[in-house]
């Protein structure tokens, strides 16, 4: 579904990504881990077509992927560090607005269902400014999955969520994979991330330091790899 080869990104002379290979197929859930500044968010910004890499090849669904490919954007869902929801609109209005930009049919029905799924059904007509941080994050999750994307990209998605919200997010990720979609998430939630991912990738200083499947790598091995990356400190 998605394959990036030797992805590099330079900001001026500073290397942010130094040749990262990444791939996910249907039903796969790739977890990105590593210290702040490892390049996880930058990698996700490239995979979500927010920016082009300086060099390297990115392909999605068998074709080269570029930032101006609107048809491809339709197949991606992205949830960033910040919820990025409109505070002056209601939860329902936020989703209906995005649904219309994605040209979805039955937008109101879909929006209602998505809001109920993330536990915001009773608050759907409230202005988002009155939502808590966790509720805004739930709304952002509903927005990212409203159009049932084939690939879901999540950047530290558990941030701000309460335990119930975290479980709900995990269920959403599993459901995405079960219906044949792919998920790539960046996280600092080590135990939760280990349980969720079907493949683990530890990054440090813009490179992949270690990767394995949980089935073949016990959690303590993963933790050791991650400790090694974290011991290097931030870039």
């Amino acid at each position: 579904m998605l394959e990036g080869r030797q992805l590099r990104l330079f900001l001026g002379s500073r290397a942010i990504l130094r040749g990262v290979d990444v791939a996910v197929g249907p039903g796969e859930c790739l977890g990105l881990f590593g210290p702040n500044g490892a390049g996880k968010s930058t990698l996700l910004s490239i995979l979500s077509l927010q920016r082009e890499p300086t060099s390297g090849a990115l392909r999605m669904f068998g074709a080269p992927a570029h930032v101006d490919d609107l048809a491809l954007r339709r197949r991606l869902g992205y949830l960033g560090h910040e919820p990025g929801v409109f505070l002056g609109l209601t939860g329902m209005e936020n989703l209906v607005f995005y649904g219309r930009l994605y040209r979805l049919s039955g937008v109101a029905r879909r929006a209602e269902a998505a809001l109920s799924r993330v536990g915001l059904g009773p608050f759907r007509h409230e202005i988002v400014r009155n939502y808590s941080a966790g509720m805004r994050q739930r709304l952002a999750l509903a927005r990212a999955t409203l159009h049932q994307p084939d690939i879901l990209l999540l950047d530290e998605p558990h941030q701000s969520l309460d335990p119930a919200g975290r479980d709900l997010l995990d269920a959403e990720i599993r459901s995405q994979c079960q219906r044949g979609g792919a998920v790539i998430f960046a996280s600092h939630e080590v135990a939760r991330g280990y349980r969720l991912a079907t493949r683990l990738m530890v990054m440090r200083r813009g490179k992949v330091e270690w990767q394995a499947e949980p089935a073949s790598a016990p959690e303590d091995e993963f933790r050791r790899a991650l400790d090694g990356a974290l011991g290097g400190g931030v870039r």
Partner: protein
């Protein structure tokens, strides 16, 4: 592109209707300018028909500047998400342009009578032509303001950069609308027509070019 622009405009109008972050501060500022002009120029003693067009248009431009300059910063974080949606970025420009035109037209509708009353000049003769000049002038100002606002919004110095870009770029437009309004006061409708042509050319350039370049403007 037009349909997506329509939805974005609906969202922006809803946000402005609820938050009143653009129109109210700009409108109050515009009315304060009118009052200060009234105090400073003593219109009862000094006939202001000769200077009224310049005073009016400077007032409208400065007040519009406040509204247009902030149009990209309202809910800026959420608006970044729009760049991920499968929409042509030209639709973002068209939506912001339409919003800015609406805002500046409302401002002008409030400020023009206020200026005419406080400066005791009355509206110019040929009111229909004057309204055409106002509409074309504000479309041009909004188009330039939207393009420059998009460019400035990508930088850290946006508050400084926007006036530095917008004021020089809109000076031909200001010259056009002031001269056209002056010509109306002097009863020279044909001369006003020439200036209206200049304003219309400015409008076309500042609408067409940014629609084509908006992708670039939002990535600089």
């Amino acid at each position: 592109m037009i349909r997506a622009a329509g939805w974005i405009l609906w969202k922006d109008i809803t946000l402005e209707f609820r938050g009143r972050e653009l129109l109210v501060p700009a409108g109050v500022f515009g009315l304060l300018i009118a009052m200060l002009y009234g105090f400073a120029f003593d219109p009862a003693k000094n006939g202001l028909h000769g200077t009224f067009p310049g005073l009016l248009w400077l007032g409208i431009f400065f007040a519009s500047f406040l509204a247009v300059g902030r149009a990209f910063s309202v809910e800026a974080e959420a608006s970044q998400q729009l760049l991920l949606a499968p929409i042509d970025r030209g639709s973002l420009f068209l939506a912001k342009l339409a919003l800015n035109i609406l805002l500046t037209l409302v401002l002008a509708a409030v400020m023009t009578p206020a200026f005419a009353i406080l400066l005791q000049t009355g509206l110019p003769p040929e009111t229909g032509t004057f309204l055409l000049i106002e509409a074309l002038g504000l479309v041009g100002f909004s188009a330039a303001g939207t393009a420059m606002g998009a460019l400035a919004a990508q930088t850290r110095l946006r508050e400084l950069l926007l006036p530095a870009l917008l004021l020089p770029f809109t000076s031909p437009l200001l010259l056009g609308v002031v001269s056209a309004t002056k010509a109306l006061y002097g009863g020279e409708v044909a001369a006003a027509g020439n200036w209206i042509m200049l304003i219309a050319i400015f409008d076309v350039i500042f609408i067409v070019v940014p629609v084509l370049l908006f992708e670039f403007l939002t990535e600089v």
